[in-house]
Assembly symmetry: C2
Homo-oligomer: 320 residues x 2
């Protein structure tokens, strides 16, 4: 009998990462492709997924019948019990049953969940969260994502809308957030928040290596890393400010959940994790209840860019 | 065969409430007694519990053999699986196995949990939270207590230390809190926080009906009620400020948990619940993610001062 494989996807607003896992949970093939999410055409994304999976199985040289299951993490509010994308900020999907077309195309079960939830699940099963029962995940990217493992289970809340503590308000009447509110953690500490801060400083006539990188949107994580290494003052300030609010938010979450571990992930952490972690941990004692602080660890994600792929794998394996 | 009963206790820093429940979950006898918690003598409280239970069964006219079980809510960090009070802010207990002496005295099983946790459990099973699976409880008293029902189960976090969002920091460098930190919700919106505010205003030479009531500590909830009815300006201000921060905290918790309901309880809410709820709800839209806001309700505790007694009852009944 031919060997069988699981296919896992990390579906972003601009790109899809794909991986084929063998039965020993090793990644045996990888693919990265741009998402065609322009326009309002839901099928466009669906076609991209189908074309990515088709390409993967073709290039790796297996047949549909060798696919045990396919799973994905994607941005948005996702009914992961039924495989329905309820809403998605960066993808043109609403109440969209993505499971059916994928399953009928490949003849294998398909699972999907919110990307940060799935990423935290990956860290729980195979990464920095292994062996813990209560995990708070904070993913710092363009936005600020959350994911929770509580009593050993992914917690998604009513209507799969929980873990949105990226929109915890820390500064009433603070800087504007994409969500429409002011002073959310996301507006203070995400790429967006840091980019806004840097742009303001540049507009005041200050010089920064990051000036061009934030001109038309958010910086790339690699540029931030370089700028921190060069001790660019504006970059250092932006990150200090981001870490200050990440420490307050982390303290609030630690007091709320009494988790064993807080895991920081996402693109910014993948590029500059130690720099952030040192600053957050230096401040966090102040914001945790001392008795709870004693029993909690703070770590960066161990799987880096693969958190979501491994989380998708664990969605498949947990179903069995 | 003689009827059997459950005995439930709400153990506070200054008083114990006791109730005898019949098999139909009706309270058939009640007792209220001062706690002798002075000094460091752990047995003092234990003796008070024993004397309260003994008095209850004597007055109600039943024998030890008719007690099915005894359960209690008490302040502090409590290992409710093993009946051990780990620490308690207002009671002289540390790593104290309270279960053993009570069980050996009465020959019936004894259960104990954190008072606000137990109160939220009571509201979940018999009060405002009936039929919901995800509940955030905020109890406004001298301090600010939290209790969580998540996926239909009481969530206590690692080491039974969770749900301490009373110490969520909303104003970095804000007013000092009993926990040692600044700007916690408790320091802003609890009786303590409101009393501090009123005291400051009185010290500035302003007049208030509540001046005497906050001179040596925190006001009594009944005095606050009277002062609000009389539209005492300082009382109205103190409450507006408390509700403003309660609304921000509620929004943050709603975004974090996506609960079906937020329940406000505790002494202040029992006395002035509608006044608080109106003001919190008027502000809360601003602080919740709109999509999550749609599916959450905000209510005051339905069982009032009996939340903890009913929660204790449900600890007993859930064991079977």
């Amino acid at each position: 009998m031919a060997a069988s494989y699981n296919i896992c996807l990390d579906i972003g607003g601009t790109k899809i990462l794909g991986a084929i896992f063998d039965s020993k949970k090793n990644i045996v093939y990888r693919l990265k492709k741009k998402t065609k999410a322009d326009g309002d055409d839901q099928q466009n994304v669906e076609e991209t997924i189908i074309s990515v999976v088709s390409e993967m199985i073709k290039e790796f040289g297996i047949k549909n019948s060798q696919i045990k299951a396919i799973a994905a993490g994607a941005p948005g509010v996702i009914d992961q019990e039924n495989g329905i994308v309820l809403t998605s900020p960066n993808l043109p999907w609403e109440n969209y049953d993505i499971r059916k077309p994928i399953e009928s195309k490949f003849g294998a079960p398909f699972y999907i969940g919110n990307d940060v939830n799935v990423g935290v699940l990956g860290e729980y099963k195979y990464g920095a969260g292994k062996g813990y029962k209560n995990i708070v995940g904070l993913f710092v990217g363009t936005g600020m994502g959350g994911g929770l493992i509580l009593d050993g289970k992914l917690y998604t809340g009513h209507g799969f809308k929980g873990a949105e503590y990226g929109h915890m308000i820390l500064v009433p009447d603070g800087p504007k957030c994409n969500c429409g509110q002011r002073g959310c953690l996301e507006a203070l500490s995400s790429k967006q928040g840091m980019s806004d801060y840097i742009r303001q400083q540049v507009a005041r006539g200050r010089e920064s290596m990051m000036a061009d990188g934030v001109k038309d949107g958010v910086f790339k994580s690699k540029l931030l890393k370089k700028s921190l290494e060069a001790k660019d003052p504006v970059a250092v300030e932006a990150v200090s400010r981001a870490c200050y609010y990440l420490a307050i938010a982390s303290g609030n979450l630690v007091n709320t959940f009494s988790p064993e571990i807080v895991i920081y992930g996402g693109g910014v952490i993948e590029a500059c994790g130690d720099y952030f972690l040192d600053r957050i941990v230096a401040d966090v004692d102040r914001y945790c209840m001392p008795s709870i602080r004693k029993s909690v660890e703070f770590k960066t994600a161990a799987l880096g860019d693969d958190s979501i792929l491994y989380g998708a794998l664990s969605m498949i394996l947990d179903k069995k």
